[in-house]
């Protein structure tokens, strides 16, 4: 009989207007790796915040090692040996690895001053335990992201963590690095008696390392602490989204006629891209696939002139051109870029719907002396806001008050309003609910059918395979291969993976 080291019983948590958790339960067996799954907004992060003492549940009980406890703040959680490992955020970049590991509990000399030799000795022990070959004196900013993450885990262990929460730990790791991480996780579970809560979107990983699964959907338990052996991929997906996974089968015919609108020839960039060739035909959707850090977004930012292209040719409509700013890209060449980070790079949260949708068209519609009125703007963009079925009480609503899906629609709408010929769409459906996601997929296809040429960046393989006509695989800031997409998921995905791993 296994004992639970952490249990949450029927937790409720409401924020004004939203019920984030509704009778959610969760049981973590001692010495197990437990997957916590759910779509964005399902309540995972709220649950994590309750476990780590950031939020307090409105009702419901929390047990640690069978005893009911109250966590009032993150420090309380730490006292009970609960630690969260974030992606590289927990470390002080200018401090050494050793000092970072010991920062909560710096060893001191009899005079009360920090004992750096002791730091080195003590931290070395933890690093060795994790088979990490890092000098404790190394400054953190000199490490790779993967190593930073391992340091974080070492740090959590040094704090005598018994319950470790890993929030999307592999999102910026290479497959090899992820593999190493998993080996290590299994080791610390075995040797140190640590229990792990593992949050991930990659189901393969979940099946690879997890023992139990809890799935949340709309704040409720879709399943509570199921043994993973009773589940398969399809069942899990059904639990998460409430129905089967759907892959939109695009009925698009790839046009044979070559009508190249954009081409890159042997392009080099200041960010380190080399030998980049790319060809985009009118009405075509090409996909850029690759791991995080492969340089896809960066390449597109160079293309629109945010960063510099240092060598090679950019050819738009058959003419060699230089694009030195997003402004030129938009105004001269009708190229638009929809950012993956809509809150930071896509939208202006403190401005309203109308201003956000029209930001790309002000120069187009201005009259004498730069006159632009709200009426003129509404005339221009209203139809797009309605066409995309943006749910907003009025055009004067602040963007920050809209849901994620509607925000994403606005960031698409502003480029539709601008009338772009080439649209670069970067991770369009990250953090978007299933319904809006399907809608956006249809929209992308429709746009292409109507003559817009699209470059799609996505890390979502099913999305990529259902939408793209042709998939370019990138690796280490270079093109590693082209896959003609016949929408046969298994065949195409294995071809893509081949290019990634060669």
């Amino acid at each position: 009989m296994n004992e639970f080291c952490l249990e949450i019983r029927s937790a409720n948590k409401s924020f004004p207007g939203v019920k984030a958790l509704d009778q959610a339960s969760f049981r973590l067996r001692k010495g197990s790796i437990h997957a916590l799954l759910g779509e964005n907004g399902a309540g995972k992060s709220t649950l994590i915040k309750i476990i780590t003492g950031v939020h307090k549940q409105d009702s419901g009980k929390l047990f640690i090692n069978g005893k009911e406890e109250t966590l009032n703040n993150p420090n309380d959680a730490t006292k009970f040996g609960i630690s969260v490992v974030h992606q590289e955020r927990n470390l002080i970049r200018r401090f050494s690895v050793g000092e970072n590991l010991m920062l909560n509990n710096l060893p001191k000399t009899p005079l009360g001053l920090i004992d750096y030799d002791e730091i080195t000795i003590k931290s070395k022990k933890w690093l060795e335990m994790m088979d990490l070959d890092i000098d404790p004196k190394t400054v953190v900013s000199e490490l790779t992201v993967a190593k930073m993450q391992l340091c974080e885990i070492a740090k959590a262990l040094s704090l005598k963590a018994k319950i470790l929460l890993l929030d999307e730990p592999t999102s910026s790791l290479s497959p090899q690095e992820s593999e190493n991480l998993f080996t290590l996780l299994k080791k610390i579970v075995r040797d140190e008696g640590v229990s792990i809560v593992f949050v991930s979107h990659k189901l393969e990983e979940v099946f690879n390392i997890c023992d139990d699964v809890t799935v949340l959907r709309d704040g409720e338990n879709a399943c509570t602490s199921e043994d993973i052996k009773n589940l398969d991929r399809q069942k899990l997906v059904r639990l998460m989204i409430g129905r089967d996974e759907q892959i939109v089968k695009s009925a698009r015919k790839i046009k044979n006629a070559k009508d190249t609108i954009l081409a890159l020839r042997n392009v080099k960039t200041e960010l380190g891209h080399r030998n980049i060739d790319l060809e985009l035909n009118r009405s075509e959707i090409i996909g850029l696939y690759g791991l995080v850090g492969a340089g896809r977004t960066e390449l597109m930012k160079c293309l629109i002139g945010q960063d510099k292209i240092t060598d090679g040719d950019v050819i738009v409509n058959g003419k060699k051109v230089t694009i030195n700013s997003p402004k030129t890209a938009l105004e001269k060449f009708k190229i638009g870029y929809i950012s993956e980070d809509r809150k930071k790079e896509g939208l202006i949260l403190i401005h309203n719907v109308l201003d956000n949708t029209s930001i790309t068209v002000w120069s187009q519609i201005r009259k004498a002396f730069g006159f632009v009125s709200d009426g003129m703007i509404a005339n221009k963009v209203d139809s797009y806001i309605r066409q995309l079925e943006v749910k907003t009480p009025s055009n004067y609503q602040l963007i920050s008050n809209l849901s994620g899906g509607n925000q994403q629609k606005i960031s698409v709408a502003k480029w539709l309003a601008a009338g772009t010929d080439i649209l670069i769409i970067d991770e369009p459906t990250v953090g978007i609910d299933i319904k809006t996601k399907a809608y956006l997929h249809e929209l992308i296809i429709k746009l292409a059918d109507n003559g817009t040429s699209i470059i799609l960046i996505s890390s979502d393989m099913p999305e990529m395979i259902s939408l793209a006509d042709k998939i370019l695989v990138m690796k280490d800031f270079q093109m590693s291969g082209i896959v003609e997409n016949d929408h046969d998921y298994d065949a195409v995905s294995s071809k893509i993976m081949e290019f990634i791993h060669t």
Partner: protein, 323 residues
């Protein structure tokens, strides 16, 4: 030796030595004992002023009210002694407490409201200065006790070293220990590096912010008292011109205004550079207003150099990681 080159302050040390020698070569009077005395006197309180700003830069904020606190403390110190006949040690103590209270107010309001320290300290700058002028009605206190005056004029034995510089040197050393060898100091730097990380680690933001501002207030107060000793009177306009040099020295010393990177030794050398060159301008009989232009240019150049250095390190890191 190799590690020595890597230190931020090593380059500055060379600048100090070379510029000192160069000036001395052209104008031997630069090394005259009188000149060295003047140099050290201005270094003494400039050092404290720079440290008062530096500790706030360390947590990624700024303190516009350093001068106003110094001024308020200066007139409190002299006023307590002249008007209220309070003994010197007690007056010093009360003055330091006043400075720390001012700092506490800055820190408390900044920490609790989450408003940028710039605007808070701009407001308190006028509040402290207003109290200063309200009390003094712009009249200086002239009757400073002899002990204070003597302290201000004293030299170490027969050397040209002013006694005034002893306290700043001790404080500088203590600050170095604080920033590098104590938990609170390290937590401050961690907070300056990343507020978010620091909070995740469990470092209390308000504790860090308030402590830093209290120390800044304490240092500003110390500087105010030293200036009174030096001037032998307490005028309400003490502190009015501290803003620029308070930023110049830490920034020349490689401090990043976003926080998390300050160096006590480099800041001290930054002070020396500012003082030496200002003094040189006097010796070469260059228009005194040129000092102002010089300070401005130095600040600009220093931030550019710091910027470039960060940029280069970042670039190196990228190359290193992509391999």
């Amino acid at each position: 030796m190799a590690t020595l080159f890597k230190k931020d302050w090593f380059g500055l040390l060379i600048v100090v030595v070379v510029s000192g020698l160069a000036i001395a070569a052209v104008k031997p009077a630069f090394l005259s004992s009188f000149n060295l005395y003047v140099l050290m006197v201005s270094t003494s309180y400039m050092l404290i002023i720079a440290l008062a700003q530096m500790i706030i830069i360390a947590i990624g904020q700024m303190n516009l009210s350093v001068g106003a606190i110094g001024g308020l403390v200066a007139i409190s110190f002299s006023g307590l002694m002249e008007v209220h006949q309070i003994s010197v040690p007690v007056a010093v103590l009360i003055s330091l407490v006043i400075g720390m209270t001012c700092g506490f107010l800055n820190g408390y309001i900044t920490a609790k409201s989450g408003i940028s320290a710039f605007i808070i300290t701009l407001a308190t700058l006028y509040i402290f200065k207003g109290i200063n002028l309200g009390i003094t009605e712009a009249e200086p206190f002239y009757n400073i006790p002899e002990t204070v005056k003597n302290f201000g004029n004293a030299k170490l034995g027969n050397t040209p070293i002013p006694f005034l510089i002893v306290i700043p040197i001790i404080i500088t050393f203590l600050m170095w220990v604080f920033m590098n060898r104590t938990e609170t100091g390290r937590h401050m730097l961690a907070y300056g590096n990343s507020v978010q990380s620091a909070e995740l680690i469990g470092i209390s933001s308000s504790k860090v912010v308030i402590t830093a501002h209290v120390i800044s207030g304490f240092l500003a107060a110390t500087a105010g008292i030293l200036v009174v000793c030096r001037l032998q009177l307490g005028t309400p306009n003490i502190g009015d011109s501290w803003l620029l040099p308070s930023f110049a020295a830490p920034v020349i010393g490689g401090a990043i205004l976003a926080g998390g990177k300050v160096d006590v030794i480099a800041t001290a050398l930054g002070v020396l550079i500012v003082v030496i060159i200002s003094q040189a301008l006097v010796i070469f009989k260059i228009d005194p207003f040129f000092v102002q232009i010089f300070l401005g240019v130095m600040i600009l150049l220093a931030v550019l150099v710091n910027r470039y250095r960060e940029y280069k390190q970042e670039a190196l890191r990228k190359i290193f990681n992509s391999e």
